[in-house]
Symmetry: C2
Subunit: 243 residues, 2 copies
């Protein structure tokens, strides 16, 4: 027999299952995107055009995942009319997929440059920097997703903080490559390809930071976008806490 | 006297007013962003570092507008539990502000390059291309916003279609500038600044296209992201229609 209380409980269990499902779909998409970043960087460094081609082909899957998760979010908003933390979860998921999809796009751009460099011959400089910054931003993506999985605002904060390090190293690498171009103008086109790759990696770091900010919004209820790191830290750890 | 019918009508009028308000806030933000793009390009071409500085300062206002509109959308979702086209409106607005904010970011990047070129001396090439592509993408932003204001899916489609033209011209400009760098390596740093500006403009075109896709979603109810222009056209104009 279904009485009213049972029914309410039943609906709420089903609702929770839907929320859990959309979150797990986001994490699955995130896992694939993270792999794409890793594969694109590996393809570039190993001059593996087969792997680069694979990255390009998988991008369609990521786009499809974005569409599906978007649909799930709209369906939940329309049918379940979530409030409070449930609503924040749906908002965070529906914004995070945008960032994940763009990280996927940047991975595809890196893969295209990898293929181009396989044809033109390798660039004389910049691979160390690509590997290094590539590792950093891949880790940022991974930790932003971990933070989402565990509702961990502290981990999200550390991802956002780390973005500054990436930006600094990106700028240093860029200056060195521009200097090199002046010394060896014949390599301009190939060095420029490496510069585009570094730019894509730096953008991936920005998107990971965006996801981290959404995790803080989800867990703490405050929109920390554009607030700056000091204010963000206060929101996560409380005011006046030592570093 | 308030009876139940009056109350329902009263609530629905208030709800409509809120929807109208959030849409008008989006359009106001869009107008400011469009002005930022225009001013940034003008600052670069006229070597006007004062105007460039102004663009950088106004970016904070745009960020604040994004936060406010976001808050409005969350409030409406939580209190009004919109469905169907009302829900699509809120979703389109809350995604469009992300693109508008990023267009604002790109305008700020262009302004920074303008200031840098004021200090380093002007680049030997690329201003014609910056003006031309700058005009094109500013127009795309303007028309994407017009399409939003008028619920005009056909205009939105033409914005999305135009993005291909911008991408093509961007690539041509890039090739020419790379060739020029090889001929005059002393100009590499300054020409690279122009290349970054063109890249920002091309990104602005992408964001305008995203907004156009959201207008189509809003008006037609179909998510046309990643569908390709042919399918997008079918969704807007119906299948099998001649060009």
């Amino acid at each position: 027999m279904i009485n009213k209380e049972n029914l309410t409980q039943h609906i709420s269990q089903q609702f929770n299952a839907e929320l859990e499902e959309v979150r797990s779909h986001l994490l699955a998409m995130g896992g694939l995107v993270e792999k794409q970043v890793n594969d694109a960087v590996t393809a570039l460094i190993d001059a593996d055009s087969g792997l680069a081609q694979q990255v390009r082909e998988i991008d369609d899957q990521i786009n499809q995942m974005e569409r599906n998760i978007d649909e799930e979010c709209v369906r939940i908003l329309a049918r379940r009319q979530p409030a409070a933390s449930d609503l924040r979860l749906i908002i965070s998921v529906s914004k995070s997929v945008i960032d994940l999809e763009r990280i996927g796009d940047e991975a595809t751009k890196i893969a295209k440059r990898a293929i181009q460099l396989c044809e033109e011959g390798e660039a004389p400089r910049g691979y160390v920097e690509v590997r290094h910054i590539g590792d950093q931003v891949r880790k940022m993506v991974q930790e932003a997703l971990d933070a989402f999985a565990r509702f961990d605002a502290d981990l999200a904060l550390s991802v956002a903080q780390y973005d500054k390090t990436v930006d600094r190293e990106y700028k240093t690498a860029l200056r060195e490559l521009v200097t090199y171009m002046m010394e060896d103008p014949r390599a301009i086109s190939r060095v420029l390809s490496i510069i585009w790759v570094l730019r894509s990696l730096e953008r991936i770091g920005d998107h990971a930071r965006n996801i981290a900010e959404l995790v803080i919004y989800l867990v703490r209820g405050t929109d920390v976008k554009h607030l700056g790191l000091a204010r963000m830290k206060e929101e996560v750890q409380g005011p006046g806490k030592a570093d």
